[in-house]
């Protein structure tokens, strides 16, 4: 195992970009290599040592054997774990835009909040955000109709608007509340939201499933009531209790499943 610890010593309001610092790239790097490395900041590159104390312990033969810890706030560090394929990254603080975007494997844990585009176009691996995420978590790239396709994104806090646009696989679990239009344009995959949802989950969804355990404010006309179901099984997961089951969005001939906890959503009946 190789453990790399980056301890912040200086804050830059112009974001650092960490797309090159993923286990796949750095598993062979020594402490000297890190000290030589210049990190992209705006239109320039500056020594990583300007911003971090760097600690490297142990050896790694492959990216799987890497654990990188950013031991402090990374609220201005973009692209953490972006495109990573293996290994582990832990952020002991907030993470900036695109945390875990296009990730294919390995794990990323953020012990804080994540900015927008967290888990964008995720293909595999696991992302855990202990705090909240801003907009567009687990979303696709603009214009791209094939969004997140695999892996698991777990958000312990709340999720902002337009979660999982064009999701086409994988799993998202929001333990807190969720803002409008979760799962918009979704074609496949599974979203579970334990808290309350403002409005319009599943807009223009074609397929896949969304389960809401909290209260949903407004539902779209494009969702047809199917039945009240008890202890449903959705995409291989067992839920207990009564759920209101809808199919939609019929505006796009969608066959997506939307389940609302019946207890909390009597107002829709």
């Amino acid at each position: 195992m190789k453990q790399i610890t980056l301890t912040p010593i200086k804050f830059s309001s112009i974001a650092l970009e960490f797309d090159e610092l993923i286990p796949d790239e750095i598993y062979g790097w020594s402490k000297e290599d890190f000290e030589k490395y210049e990190v992209p900041v705006g239109n320039s590159r500056f020594p990583l040592t300007d911003y971090y104390d760097i600690e490297v312990e142990g050896e790694a033969q492959s990216p799987e054997e890497v654990k990188m810890i950013i031991d402090g706030d990374a609220g201005r560090v973009k692209y953490i774990g972006c495109k990573m394929d293996a290994g582990e990254i832990v952020v002991n603080g907030d993470a900036d835009l695109h945390a875990g975007a296009e990730m294919e494997g390995g794990s990323l844990t953020v012990n804080g909040n994540a900015e927008s585009y967290c888990g964008r176009e995720m293909k595999g691996g696991e992302i855990t955000i202990k705090g909240n995420v801003r907009e567009y978590a687990g979303t696709s790239y603009i214009g791209e109709w094939r969004g997140m396709s695999g892996g698991k994104l777990t958000i312990h806090g709340n999720a902002g608007k337009q979660l999982a646009d064009a999701m086409s696989g994988g799993e998202i679990h929001v333990m807190g509340n969720c803002d409008i239009l979760a799962g918009i344009h979704m074609t496949k995959g599974f979203i579970q939201i334990d808290g309350d949802v403002t409005r319009w989950p599943g807009g223009q969804m074609k397929n896949g499933a969304i389960v809401i355990n909290g209260r949903l404010e407004r539902l779209l006309e494009g969702f047809e009531l199917d039945a009240i179901v008890t202890d449903p099984e959705v995409e291989g997961r067992q839920f207990t209790g009564k759920y209101i089951k809808y199919t939609g969005d019929i505006g796009v001939n969608g066959k997506g499943t939307l389940l609302l906890n019946a207890e909390k959503n009597r107002h829709h009946l």
Binding site: P40, G42, N43, Y117, I142, Q162, L181, E221, I250
Partner: protein
């Protein structure tokens, strides 16, 4: 309006000039000139005419630099350009914003400068029709040139915009009133519809007004689409509109011969932002199963669309393009001006032919006050108060010729009617000078 006697005292008329105000780019404007001054304007609407006639008091006439006391003081062009070039060459996260009221010809060196220093280049779409562009990218873009509407349309729908105020000749010149080839009786051959929570001036002229509630746009369009799919609506009232009205309207839209939907910022700036456009576009796509429908965003400035087109063909992305890593990146929320300012990332800001001082949110303005700002413009404005270097440009379409793209993407060559003031310089020249000077500085520091 009070009666104004026609202008008779002029040396010449320059015909078929293009109004450099709203995205209608009316190219039938006659400018009356006496002693190299505009003394009259024919055919333009009030907004356009007053822009062209604009009172010269507010004109920026000389280059200026803010001195140690915080006062803008007049300097010569060399000094001002060198100062601006030095700021740009030394920046780590420069943003070049604006461009919607200048010509394509000025954008060219602007983009070259952007590529050279690894800046972000962005235009007003970032604060206005950005969500429209995103929606277009998500679901498509079934549009047409305005003459298609003039010649064929028997139903015209406006939503989220009030053209009678913001694009005054839009109805008269293109969509509703003109006699078209297949609509020989003009207005009488068309049904005009407005979807708007407010009883706007356009709504007042309309045959049908649909006052859906604020933020009700997404659910309203969703309901029409459901009706089109043959679905019975469950709720009696959707977004404040009785379901019978929605059904009746849907029928009308289905049974028209050629329908055109125009949408404005109103639709992009409610709760579900680009998703309103997204679903409106899909509604128009659905309607094409039954009959002909097209749509068009009501772009504000005369070249806001031009910038998006220019950037798309030059660099593949329409606005908010970041060259900091040597290749173009386009990511809403990351490479867009307001976000870069709100996050206090930008360290040098150049604004050309735009007024962030009047339109940006507070947080962004607060940051602008903290960093060097270079302004290229023709008028004093709130942005001048923020500027550290002021470079006075010329008036495209009146003093300088150039290319613009109308809201429907028709390119128009805007000619000039008079010569610019001697102390001002064309935007294209100014940006080219900056490019030359920054290139020199960069080479020297290699």
């Amino acid at each position: 309006m009070a009666y104004e006697p026609p202008v008779t005292d002029y040396d010449k008329i320059v015909e078929n000039c293009t109004c450099a105000f709203c995205g209608s780019n009316c190219d039938d404007v006659d400018i009356l000139v006496k002693d190299n001054h505009v003394v009259g304007v024919r055919h333009a609407c009030r907004l356009g005419a007053s822009k062209i006639m604009e009172d010269e008091d507010q004109r920026l006439t000389v280059p200026m630099i803010r001195d140690e006391n915080g006062e803008l003081v007049e300097v010569d062009w060399d000094t001002a350009l060198d100062k601006a070039a030095e700021l740009i060459a030394g920046a780590v996260r420069p943003v070049f914003y604006g461009w919607s009221e200048t010509s394509i010809e000025a954008m060219k060196p602007g983009l070259e400068l952007t590529e050279l220093v690894g800046a972000v280049i962005d235009n007003q779409a970032t604060i206005c029709h950005g969500p429209t562009v995103q929606a277009v990218q998500n679901v498509g873009y079934p549009l047409m040139t305005l003459g298609e509407v003039k010649n064929r349309a028997d139903m015209v729908v406006y939503t989220g915009s009030n053209p009678m105020n913001a694009h005054p000749r839009h109805l008269a010149r293109y969509t509703t009133f003109p006699k078209g080839f297949f609509r020989k009786r003009g207005r009488f051959d068309r049904t005009l519809v407005t979807w708007d929570p407010k009883y706007s001036d356009t709504a007042k002229l309309s045959d049908i007004w649909v006052p859906f509630e604020e933020n009700g746009d997404y659910a309203f369009c969703n309901a029409i689409r459901a009706v089109l799919k043959g679905k019975e609506l469950k709720q009696d009232v959707i977004s404040g509109i009785p379901k019978e009205d929605i059904v009746a309207l849907t029928e009308k839209m289905k049974n028209t011969q050629f329908g055109a939907l125009f949408f404005g910022l109103g639709l992009t700036h409610t709760l579900s932002k680009q998703r309103n456009i997204d679903i409106a576009i899909q509604l128009v796509q659905d309607l094409n199963k039954y009959t002909k429908w097209v749509l068009l965003p009501m772009r504000g400035h005369f070249n806001v669309n031009g910038f998006n087109i220019f950037m798309s063909y030059e660099m593949g992305f329409p606005y908010g393009v970041d060259f900091s890593r040597g290749y173009p990146r386009y990511m809403i929320g990351e490479t867009t001006t307001i976000d870069l300012l709100n996050r206090k990332e930008c360290d040098v800001f150049m604004v050309i032919a735009a007024d962030p001082g009047a339109h940006f949110p507070g947080g962004a303005l607060a940051h602008l006050a903290d960093i060097p700002v270079i302004q290229i413009d023709i008028h004093w404005g709130p942005s001048t108060e923020l500027a550290d270097v002021v470079l006075p440009g010329t008036f495209i379409g009146v003093e300088t010729a150039g290319t613009s793209y109308r809201m429907d993407s028709v390119p128009i060559f805007m000619k000039k009617a008079i010569d610019p003031p001697e102390t001002c310089r064309e935007d294209e020249w100014i940006v080219n000078e900056l490019l030359k000077r920054v290139t020199k500085l960069k080479e020297a520091s290699k």
